[in-house]
Symmetry: C3
Subunit: 343 residues, 3 copies
């Protein structure tokens, strides 16, 4: 059960209502009037709560769950304990996401401009938006409808923010244009100068960074990530990209639609990433490359060449993932041969 | 000598007092009344200062030190210059830590609530605590005794903070409960949504993140680190954990007691780390794993399988450290063979 | 063309003036009176704009550019379209940097102390400097001439900042001394305690961190980077160092002059880095090492031994770069042999 100090819950809802809302099949229509009051993990959900099984790693928790109802794929339905009602879905994680959003819908911020916020000249803030304590909004900034600018956020001059945007505390935005429904987590730094200089023994010479950061709609940018503005071209984050914490996006990088960049990964300057590319944690992609649509890069890989669309890559330097697995096997064989020789 | 602009010093203390306080043996009891006024590094400490030798890499600095006194293990005592009094300890680094804390004890914050702090409704702040300028405390937050909430910190609604907690500037805390004597460094982001979504070509679907972050007693969390709240279960940092800078702890991760996580390491979602696990810098641990008590992971390793208790692992994918060393040797042999063939 | 909402431009300038200022040769003196109004990338610059070609990867964009003028090396001059005037330079990127700085010179901050800034006791702020909204300046701090302390920056007690220093929002500085012309990007944390403790099963014992951070002149420190103060010795960043985003510099590290540290790299405690060392992204350097002047470390490498001056290293553990390339080749050969055996 979610801690009521931090979360306010809707409901209860009947299993019938939920099955409808999440597009699942209830395993027993006779109980469609039974209610559940919350969602919860398999190992702690009570008879009044709804849980889910997605990752088969947790199947033993599923077998022993006390949850009153559970979202599950047809494949694992037979493993359920008898006391648990089943909401059967081909896509249990998606169905759970929708159910959890029924209990915990997104709450629109209450309109307000805190008296301790600092608002510059010629700023436009829609009257439905909320500016919290200590936030600083630069001259000429434009903030759309139903936005939440959290405490101590700093928004630079002329920044333009769309509608339904949430910006969490201690983030700084400058030289950028943000689409609708973007969610910027705390501590994110967007729009600062990229790492552009001419190396010189008499002192590196800074190259003025004259571009912007353009962030599309429905983008999430994780805590303490950094997105440098373009040097002349723009840095572009496409619609629907999800970026995790502590990620570095350098100047002039372009991400297509729906990319997923996991924590602590970095994309170097001017690389172009296609649509729906998945980049795992701690990956590094060097500059001036092209990574094709639908490519996937395994964790900690170092990408130093263009990646074709749909390729799955691993290792440093990154190679097709099957070759990377072969490398590990070859390596293991090699050292075991050495061990036998030593014996 | 520590810069008096930044540090205020106690003392002087006699060598006899110090030997007592740090549980060391003075090499010459006749000088137990001699005083030292400060601690300092081997290569800069003066005749009035106390230094220490811990890492044998610095033995030549030890031989040439001008320090008036030095903490050293019995093993290296004979290498000391004659002018240097010795405080002999089996554990010189620990003894130095205790001595330095005698000269530079932890200073309790002076109670105050800055007039430029923003304090929400129904907030409880113990009268012994200090809230600095620009800090923002959300509704219903509870702050214990002798806490320091530094300038421009943001604390979300209902967050509960124990006693003797220090939170440094530009950190953001939400959806969390913090134990006693925790030290949160600047720029730390705790309690934001984890990276939970259902990937979908029509737009990734966010999964509401409904858990908390629970941080135990005596925990240190380094600058600009990020700790996401649980998705339903909590993210848990056990008592006595030390986390360095720029570390990523994903949702639902559990760290046992006394874990040490070095800079730029990352632990992915739902992994369970036992007690006293040491994770070196830039390590990545993938999600849904178990790392046993007392395990150690070498720098930059990528852990993709469960790690048994006490194991020492290295490489990507991580293998037992001896095998990792064998891999390096095999690799070196292989390329030298290639070189000979080329010649 | 740079977005006029974010950038204010000087000019126009004649090609003759520019050739002079950037030390380039105009390919046709008869057009030295022709003006350009801005700088821009090859693929978007108009007939009224100046572009540049530096990286030969972009030569096809150069051949097709509409730019009115272009800075180019003698080598590629013949590839230019006829309509484009050429400013020929042996060092086109440097020349472009200088030209861009003519159009977009550094703007001195307008002197001001925001009424919502908090300034402690005995603070010295030169009257030419600017302190923005929500900034907090601790007791005894000293801020030189023409500095910009941006919104919500926190500067600790007794910190000393030179002239022409820019500190971006949501950064925290304590226990440090900053030289002239330093540029601290947003979210940077400088001067917090290093990761110094004695590991102990009964609770790790904190070692008081009693040093400072000393930052030289003309240093750039990228967004969300962290620089811990020394434990007793100081942490030192030499003149002219360029540090990218999300970089970790541990306690007691010393960087020489002109070092370049790319994003997400980390240098562990007490390592000494010589002058003009280039460290690529996501590199890790372990503690207590020495890296010689002019050394270069390839991306994601793990340096675990001293590096001689001028060496170029790659891999984990890092080896001379040629050996690292040989490792990749040997590995590739090995798995192809395995593949043939399987066939």
């Amino acid at each position: 059960m979610a801690d009521h100090r931090f979360y306010s819950r809707m409901g209860p809802f009947t299993l019938g209502e939920l099955a409808n809302l999440i597009n699942a099949d209830l395993n027993n229509v006779e109980i469609s009037g039974r209610t559940v009051t919350d969602v919860g993990p398999l190992n702690t959900a009570s008879q009044e709560e709804l849980s889910f099984l997605d990752n088969p790693k947790y199947i033993s928790e599923f077998k022993n769950t006390d949850a009153g109802a559970c979202i599950v794929s047809p494949k694992y339905a037979s493993k359920a304990p008898a006391r648990t009602a089943l909401l059967i879905s081909k896509d249990p994680y998606k169905a759970y996401a929708l159910a959890a959003r029924v209990f915990y819908p997104v709450i629109q911020p209450e309109p307000d401009i805190s008296h301790s916020a600092s608002v510059g000249k010629d700023v436009t803030i829609d009257k439905s938006s909320r500016i919290e304590a200590g936030a600083v909004i630069g001259d000429g900034a434009i903030i759309g409808k139903h936005c939440l600018i959290s405490a101590n956020v700093v928004i630079g001059a002329s920044v333009k923010i769309g509608n339904h945007v949430v910006i969490r505390s201690n983030s700084t935005l400058s030289h950028c244009i943000i689409g609708d429904y973007a969610h910027i987590y705390p501590g994110v730094q967007i729009g600062q100068d990229g790492f552009g200089f001419h190396p010189d023994i008499e002192g590196h010479i800074k190259v003025p960074q004259l571009g912007r950061v353009i962030i599309g709609d429905n983008v999430e940018i994780g805590a303490n990530s950094t997105i440098d503005r373009g040097s002349g071209p723009d840095t572009i984050i496409g619609n629907g990209c999800w970026i995790d914490n502590l990620v570095q996006i350098a100047h002039n990088v372009e991400l297509g639609r729906g990319c997923v960049i996991a924590a602590q990964a970095g994309v170097s300057g001017s690389s172009k990433i296609g649509d729906f590319v998945f980049v795992a944690g701690q990956v590094g992609i060097v500059g001036h490359l092209s990574v094709g649509t639908g490519a996937r890069i395994a964790g900690q890989s170092g990408v130093i060449k263009d990646v074709p669309p749909g390729a799955i890559m691993g290792g440093t330097p990154a190679v097709p993932i099957k070759d990377w697995h072969r490398q590990s096997i070859a390596m293991s064989r090699l050292i075991h041969k050495d061990k036998r020789i030593n014996e």
